[in-house]
């Protein structure tokens, strides 16, 4: 398929990215080129082939449900843009 300007804007919103109006056309062209590359996959017969999620087909390892981490909230929040009393600050969500 070919990507239109509206498609770019829709996908950008899903990805939480703001795309400047003057960049939409070039971006659409880039993405169409990449999709043309990727579309080579469509011609491949993959009937009955199990999708490969892990090279060794490993499955998720479970550990015992024990407390292993200590509370380091202050250290972890030291790199946050805005915090107050141990909470992350964001713009008002509910009026």
């Amino acid at each position: 398929m070919s990507f239109s300007s509206d498609d770019i804007k829709n996908v950008a919103t899903l990805a939480r990215l703001h795309v400047d109006e003057e960049k939409v056309e070039k971006l659409g062209q880039d993405i169409n080129n990449i999709l043309a590359l990727v579309d080579q996959l469509k011609a491949v017969d993959t009937t009955g082939i199990e999708p490969m999620a892990h090279p060794m087909d490993a499955v998720q390892i479970l550990r015992a449900d024990e407390v292993t981490e200590t509370d380091q909230r202050e250290k972890f929040q030291a790199c946050a843009p805005a915090t107050e009393e141990g909470l992350y600050l964001v713009p008002k969500v509910i009026e």
Partner: protein, 487 residues
């Protein structure tokens, strides 16, 4: 001192020929003096490096030293370092100081190595030229009259090792990001088997493909680095519980009778005849040591790049959704509401290539397209893996080019991102299959280095390091240095 191996540096430190403080200062001075040419470092940690060197000297004096005690190295800026800024080459993390260490950096710290600083890279490890860094492009120390790229994404690490600004450096490889810069900068770089090295604290790009590995001047140094890096880590559930062999011990094994495969699909008319000749010469060197060559077929490898450009962007779009401008990373000024905060923080924080891949990935994973793109690519991925499994039924190692050319000029790939993507044609299938691969210098074209790639079976890093070491015993391509870097 600049051309000494890790083993020789360690012997020098422990015999008292020089101290870690002297050695570390020497490298820090070189970075100060020379790195304005290459821009290979994003952050140099002088005070902490000197403190680590002093502590190492104290341990050496007490007779408590081990191989890595007091040896300086650099880390790609994708590995989190506790208390030391980690940018991933992005404005998004321009001021990010991690509250913890990656397992890889913690392992080197534990081994007594001294961290000189963090090396430049393509933003979030996305790129094959190191032109995508928010902190500026890296210049290949081998540049002639043209300013050339070091390759990417581990371009800073490769340039730093080639220019002798660090004895060794860590890198990461998702589609060729260790091996391609190693080829372009005339060094040795290894991507381990997926799951061999912990990804904990390694900022994620494409989680099912990313793998950290060593970048060094020789296979021997790479083997010693891998010894520190490899092993199961409870903090990375995708790391594999498998014993780590003694990599250094395996280096000296004879390769007599070793079966090496040459993939028909890589040795074709599209391969530059000069690279073809260099590889033929390399084959003769290995044949003289008793290796037996035969042709193998990997019929689906041409699908590697298309499959990668679904899988990697899809995983990147999921991984990079964590950058929300709330918990850490860049936050826009005066957001109007939460949506505005997310959208502006992310579009200001991420560069063009990162945004392109997030968009591709978001599209590929969006409702109605998942099976057609991600599901299909994962099926093709298995076909590629099966090709390798079949080939390894007949051979022990696969030899191929690493890159389709030597280092190219900065800006020479133009505006179409697809042109850059094709750079990884020989390396990308190794990541898709999860296999280990090493690139080592095999020759030069017009005074520029070019690598060859050895791919091993799963967890057979020791074997490809062994072959690389035997090749390096018989040749001196790996000891060549770019002009103008010695004191």
């Amino acid at each position: 001192m600049l051309d000494k191996s890790i083993k020789e540096l360690s012997e020098g430190l422990q015999s008292g020929a020089f101290s870690s403080v002297e050695l570390t200062q020497r490298y820090l001075d070189r970075i100060t003096r020379l790195d304005s040419r290459y821009n290979s470092f994003v952050t140099v940690d002088e005070a902490s490096a000197m403190a680590q060197a002093k502590a190492a000297d104290a341990r050496i004096a007490k007779g408590e030293a081990t191989l890595w005690t007091g040896i300086p190295l650099a880390h790609k800026d994708v590995f989190c370092t506790d208390g030391l800024r980690t940018t991933c080459g992005s404005r998004m993390l321009e001021n990010f100081v991690p509250p913890y260490d990656a397992t890889v950096t913690a392992n080197f710290k534990q081994a007594g190595a001294v961290c000189l600083g963090k090396t430049n890279m393509d933003e979030f490890a996305m790129g094959s030229s190191n032109e995508n860094s928010y902190f500026g492009k890296v210049i290949n120390p081998w540049s002639d009259e043209i300013e050339r790229v070091p390759g990417g994404s581990s371009g800073g690490s490769a340039a730093a090792v080639a220019a002798r600004l660090a004895p060794v450096a860590t890198g990461t490889d998702t589609g060729g990001s260790i091996r391609q810069p190693a080829s372009f900068c005339g060094i040795t770089g290894l991507k381990p088997t997926y799951g061999r090295v912990s990804r904990y604290g390694m900022i994620a790009y494409a989680s099912s493909l990313d793998q950290g590995g060593p970048m060094a001047r020789s296979a021997e140094d790479a083997a010693l680095m891998l010894q520190v890096m490899a092993g199961h880590d409870p903090k990375d559930s995708t790391s594999i519980k498998q014993d780590v062999p003694d990599y250094a011990a395996a280096l000296e094994q004879s390769i007599k009778g070793l079966r090496i495969g040459l993939p028909r699909e890589f040795f074709n008319a599209q391969l530059d005849s000069r690279i073809q000749n260099i590889l033929q010469d390399a084959i003769k060197v290995l044949e003289a040591q008793g290796a037996i060559f035969s042709e193998v077929s990997l019929p689906n490898v041409e699908l590697g790049i298309p499959a990668y450009y679904v899988i990697a962007p899809a995983e990147c779009s999921a991984n990079l959704s964590r950058f929300d401008g709330v918990r850490y990373g860049h936050r826009c000024e005066a957001p109007e509401d939460l949506m505005d905060l997310y959208m502006r923080s992310r579009s200001e924080g991420f560069g063009d290539e990162v945004q392109r891949r997030i968009l591709i990935g978001t599209y590929a994973l969006s409702a109605g397209y998942y099976d057609a793109y991600y599901g299909k690519a994962q099926q093709v991925r298995r076909l590629i893996k099966n090709d390798y499994v079949n080939a390894f039924g007949n051979v022990d190692v696969i030899l191929s080019p690493t890159t389709p050319s030597t280092t190219f000029g900065i800006g020479s790939k133009g505006e179409d991102p697809v042109q850059m993507y094709l750079e990884d044609i020989y390396t990308i299938t190794t990541n898709l299959a999860g296999l280990p691969g090493i690139s080592l210098p095999a020759g030069q074209i017009d005074g520029l280095p070019i690598g060859m790639q050895l791919t091993g079976n799963y967890f057979d890093e020791a074997r490809i390091l062994n072959v690389a070491h035997q090749f390096q015993n018989a040749t001196d391509w790996h000891t060549q240095a770019p002009h103008g870097i010695h004191d």
